[in-house]
């Protein structure tokens, strides 16, 4: 069993509780300019009355505090992390080295372009590579995350229709879609039109035809392979039907790790693709970000891409092009999460076309290997080969009073990060497993073995699952209480009467 209770004897107080008046870590240069009276610099009325109550710590105490917190955390570096649809593959350390080169990390966005040619070249090159991988024409690197890419793509769909004097409102979304899809649709000013999945897990073509017949179609968003981990065999027909209805097709690239160099969204008929560099291209997830969500579009849609677009001039110089009158505008400040993009560039450069293909082949083999090994252990509702992930169901365990959540919590005790639970919504007690290509056969065997042992425990002694986790720094946490009485910041003793939240 894993033992993950942090450092022995660790001080679990917050950094504010550890603060000790008068201690300091910082050092700053001495004032070397004339000491003008403060009132002449900034009038008292604009100055702060009470200082922010930041912690007062020595430097070693700061380092120990955060080192301690890191021991309470779990990353890909710690062990298997088969979190479905998140592609928790190994994050190569070379990426960190290159992103931290001062020639990239020290660049200011408004320094003259002539002094940033290497960075703009890197961005241009990455854009070209992503276009090739997507099978489409032009890339913007601006979106900061997948959901942000979705919004950018949907705004481009909107601009495309407006340019033709239309303002259709409905965007079709399968019931297997990520929650960001409908949320992005609304933020772009559209209405989601849900479409059902068929018995094989793909889009139900009959229902799709019905939805299309309702008219007012702006487009369709699809993940392929979808969140069930199955490739929609009818994709060419789906694309034809949506295009015929005047809609555009948006590819949610969250699951691109299955198809690199094997099938390209552009060839499937999609018009817009986003990639999650933090999934497919190995940039670290960082505990929830930063990621990057570049999008690639067809030649017809390139005019609408946000400014600036990275271009190469005829003389070989690279530049940021703002002169694009049909552009939707700007999706973010500056040009993109460049530090993240350097990592993605590094990864693709090292792997090359053969390496990328091997990524997807192995990711798919690994997922099928785990799925086959778990047949008879957990329920696998879709009886077909999976792609890079599959969805199992803990429904058979319900008779023992055990649910997917309990399986997940017990996995923690065995040192395996749980799969995504309760998603996709169309599978009861879903456990969505994505091993990724960087897990070895032994890692996968161990994962399978842990699942077996937990299912056995569910039969023999379900209380073990209901009590789990027992080896973590905390036992199961009361999430309902957190929502009922939100405590979203440190309370200081002097605040208690004021009732700050």
């Amino acid at each position: 069993m894993a033992d993950a209770q942090g450092l022995p004897g660790m001080d679990r107080r917050t950094i504010y509780e550890k603060s000790c008046c008068g201690r300091r870590a910082y050092s700053l240069p001495a004032t070397d300019v004339p000491e003008v009276p403060l009132d002449d610099l900034v009038p008292a009325g604009l100055r702060r009355q009470a200082p922010p109550r930041l912690p007062e710590m020595s430097e070693v105490d700061v380092v120990r505090h955060f080192t301690g917190l890191s021991t309470l955390n779990f990353g890909v570096d710690s062990g298997s992390y088969p979190l479905g649809s998140c592609t928790m593959k190994y994050n190569p350390r070379l990426n960190e080295t290159t992103a931290q080169l001062e020639g990239f990390a020290g660049l200011h966005p408004y320094q003259p372009e002539s002094l940033a040619q290497g960075a703009v070249e890197l961005m241009w090159e990455l854009g070209e590579w992503l276009a090739e991988i997507a099978g489409l024409a032009r890339t913007t690197l601006q979106p900061a995350a997948g959901a942000h890419g979705e919004l950018a793509g949907l705004l481009i769909i909107r601009a495309h229709h407006l340019a033709q004097g239309r303002e259709p409102k409905r965007v079709i979304i399968p019931d297997t879609a990520h929650g960001t899809n409908p949320a992005s649709v609304v933020m772009a000013g559209f209405t989601p039109a849900p479409v059902r999945s068929d018995a094989r897990g793909g889009v139900d073509l009959e229902h799709l035809r019905e939805v299309l017949a309702g008219g007012d179609i702006a487009g369709l968003m699809l993940t392929n392979p979808n969140t069930l981990g199955v490739f929609d065999e009818n994709i060419v027909e789906i694309a034809r039907l949506v295009h015929e209805a005047g809609g555009l097709l948006y590819y949610d690239g969250a699951n691109s790790n299955a198809v690199l160099g094997i099938s390209r969204p552009g060839d499937m008929g999609f018009d817009i693709v986003h990639f999650n560099t933090h999934k497919t291209f190995s940039t670290p997830h960082g505990g929830g970000g930063p990621g990057a969500g570049p999008i690639v579009v067809s030649a017809e849609l390139a005019a609408y891409l946000p400014v600036p677009l990275v271009e190469r001039a005829e003389d070989g110089r690279f530049f940021l092009d703002y002169d694009r009158p049909q552009s939707i505008g700007k999706m973010r400040t500056f040009y993109g999460n460049v530090g993240v993009l350097v990592r993605a560039h590094t990864y693709i450069r090292g792997l090359g076309p053969d390496g990328l293909r091997r990524v997807s082949e192995t990711a798919v083999l690994n997922a099928n290997y785990v799925m086959e090994s778990l047949r008879g252990v957990l329920d696998v509702p879709y009886e077909r080969r999976c792609m890079h992930e599959f969805v199992a169901s803990a429904t058979p365990l319900k008779e023992h009073g055990v649910r997917a959540l309990d399986v997940a919590k017990r996995l923690l005790d065995y040192g395996v990060h749980p799969p995504t639970t309760y998603f996709p919504l169309i599978v009861d007690e879903a456990l969505m497993v994505e091993p990724t290509e960087t897990e070895s056969r032994e890692d996968l065997d161990r994962m399978v073995d842990v699942f077996r042992r937990i299912v056995q425990e569910a039969h023999d002694d379900p209380q073990k699952l209901l009590d789990a986790p027992v080896t973590m720094p905390v036992r199961r946490l009361d999430e309902a209480e957190a929502a009922r009485h939100p405590v979203l910041r440190q309370r200081f003793p002097e605040d208690e009467e004021a009732g700050a939240c």
Partner: protein, 463 residues
């Protein structure tokens, strides 16, 4: 098998054979049988062939060396991204694999490290801004502004947001772009001479259709705004006040929450994060308690485990897309957790005195440089009144020309305001090509400031 390229796949050929047997396939190819032949790609992707780690590093070093980073020059560039010193411990902490390679803390019992750090970050942002509730961070300042506008629209059910032209022009562009199909319509109020917001003009356009008034403190040109007056104008019309704040200034300047702000957003790259050509940044958002259930993005809350021990969880998730789907407050699904951690480490290193001292040092040096520059013939104030770390001057020559002329001497003189000319109107928009925006961080010593003044003086004389 010898590898010419980088490869992170662990399997040997024997592993592959064993695994294929388990899945009852004779080749990997068979696993892709569901993909119709007409969308299968048979030829390799047209990408450069893979390289060994050493070769990749050489190639990336070549690209990096083709840049002259601002950090290696005597730089006065700011306008939203600042070259502050990042203490050595920041990289040590954020480079730890347990933080770097984790995902969003969906399993709180195994993610107490990142959850507690976000709780501590939220606390720091609340303390800096004087607000009640901070989220776990946003992408950047521009997207945070767009989200604040949507929040104000849904809270007030009104259709217009009034923005000071002193709000960063790129933030305003992001707002216009991202809310094109949704959310209140923006209206911009010009700056007056001296670069502060024309509050009389603001009062004229704010009415019962206004969801929010947005001002930036210090504003884009470094002018200090009368935030309390803007709050009065907003609140008299039943609108929210959104303040775009610079977190480094908040050790010295009054917290917007104490001046009437309902929402405070901004960019916190300058705390602990590299400039990195403008991204990843660190957007933040903090709100007054009545807006708690409308705030977008992740929130971490304190709770107890079944033994009564304190722990931290993601909370109030019924606002979010994975629960509410199309009814969510936003589509945002991640945050910039690692950047937030870097900011928290930097703030912990500075402490309550260090942040104030840092702000004061920047302010003193900026004031000194401004005074020296204004002694030069033909150089006049564009930003008037007190400033924090940044100010604009009007030059007797085009600002872009001065910047270019000083690069060979190792100076990046500032950001030419003409770059944003299309984003300004009214009295402050005249002759922007001659206006230079100059930022002074603690990295700039007096010797560098004096050398810079001499270099500018020489160019002004030539002019």
């Amino acid at each position: 098998m010898p590898q010419a390229a980088t490869d992170y796949v662990p399997h040997s050929d024997a592993d592959m054979r064993t695994m294929l047997a388990v899945v009852k396939a004779t080749s990997v190819e068979e696993l892709f049988a569901d993909i119709p032949e007409d969308v299968r790609r048979r030829e390799p992707l047209a990408l450069p062939p893979g390289l060994s780690e050493l070769e990749v590093l050489d190639e990336l070093r070549r690209l990096a060396a083709a840049n002259t980073p601002a950090s290696a020059l005597v730089s006065f560039l700011g306008a939203g991204i600042y070259d502050h010193y990042v203490p050595a411990i920041v990289d040590t902490i954020v480079g730890r694999g347990e933080f770097l390679t984790a995902y969003t803390p969906y399993q709180p019992e195994r993610s107490q490290g990142v959850l507690q750090s976000i709780f501590e970050f939220q606390t720091a942002i609340c303390e800096l801004t004087g607000m009640d509730v901070s989220n776990a961070s946003m992408y950047d300042g521009g997207t945070a502004l767009a989200e604040a506008s949507v929040l104000a629209g849904s809270h007030t059910r009104r259709g217009k947001v009034v923005l000071s032209a002193g709000v960063h022009p790129e933030y305003r562009q992001v707002l216009v772009t991202e809310t094109a199909g949704y959310g209140p319509r923006p209206q911009v109020v010009d700056l007056q001479a001296g670069a502060a917001t024309d509050l009389a003009a603001l009062a004229r356009v704010v009415g019962d259709d206004t969801a929010a008034v947005v001002v930036q403190q210090p504003n884009f040109f470094g002018a200090l705004e009368d935030v309390a007056a803007a709050a009065q104008i907003a609140h008299a019309a039943g609108a929210l006040l959104v303040v775009v704040a610079d977190p480094v200034s908040l050790g010295l300047l009054e917290a917007p929450g104490r001046l009437g702000a309902d929402v405070v957003i901004g960019e916190a790259q300058s705390l602990g994060n590299a400039m990195s050509f403008g991204g990843p940044g660190l957007g933040f958002m903090a709100v007054a308690k009545p807006l708690m259930r409308r705030i977008p993005g992740r929130l971490v809350g304190q709770t107890v485990d079944l033994e009564g021990k304190r722990g931290f969880v993601l909370t109030l998730q019924t606002r979010e897309q994975h629960i509410r789907r199309e009814k969510a407050t936003s589509n945002i699904c991640s945050n910039h957790a690692l950047n937030a951690l870097a900011a928290l480490v930097h703030l912990s290193w500075l402490g309550r005195e260090g942040l104030a001292e840092l702000g004061l040092l920047c302010t003193r040096r900026a004031a000194y440089l401004r005074a020296r520059l204004l002694e030069l013939p033909g150089v006049t104030a564009y930003t008037e009144g007190p400033v924090f770390r940044e100010f604009a001057v009007r030059l007797p020559l085009p600002a872009a020309q001065l910047v270019e002329a000083l690069v060979p001497q190792g100076f990046l003189a500032g950001v030419p305001a003409g770059r944003f000319a299309g984003q300004f109107a009214g009295p402050a928009a005249a002759g922007l090509d001659d206006v230079l925006l100059i930022a002074v961080t603690e990295k700039r010593s007096r010797a560098q400031l004096d050398a810079f003044v001499a270099a500018v003086a020489a160019e002004v004389d030539h002019g």
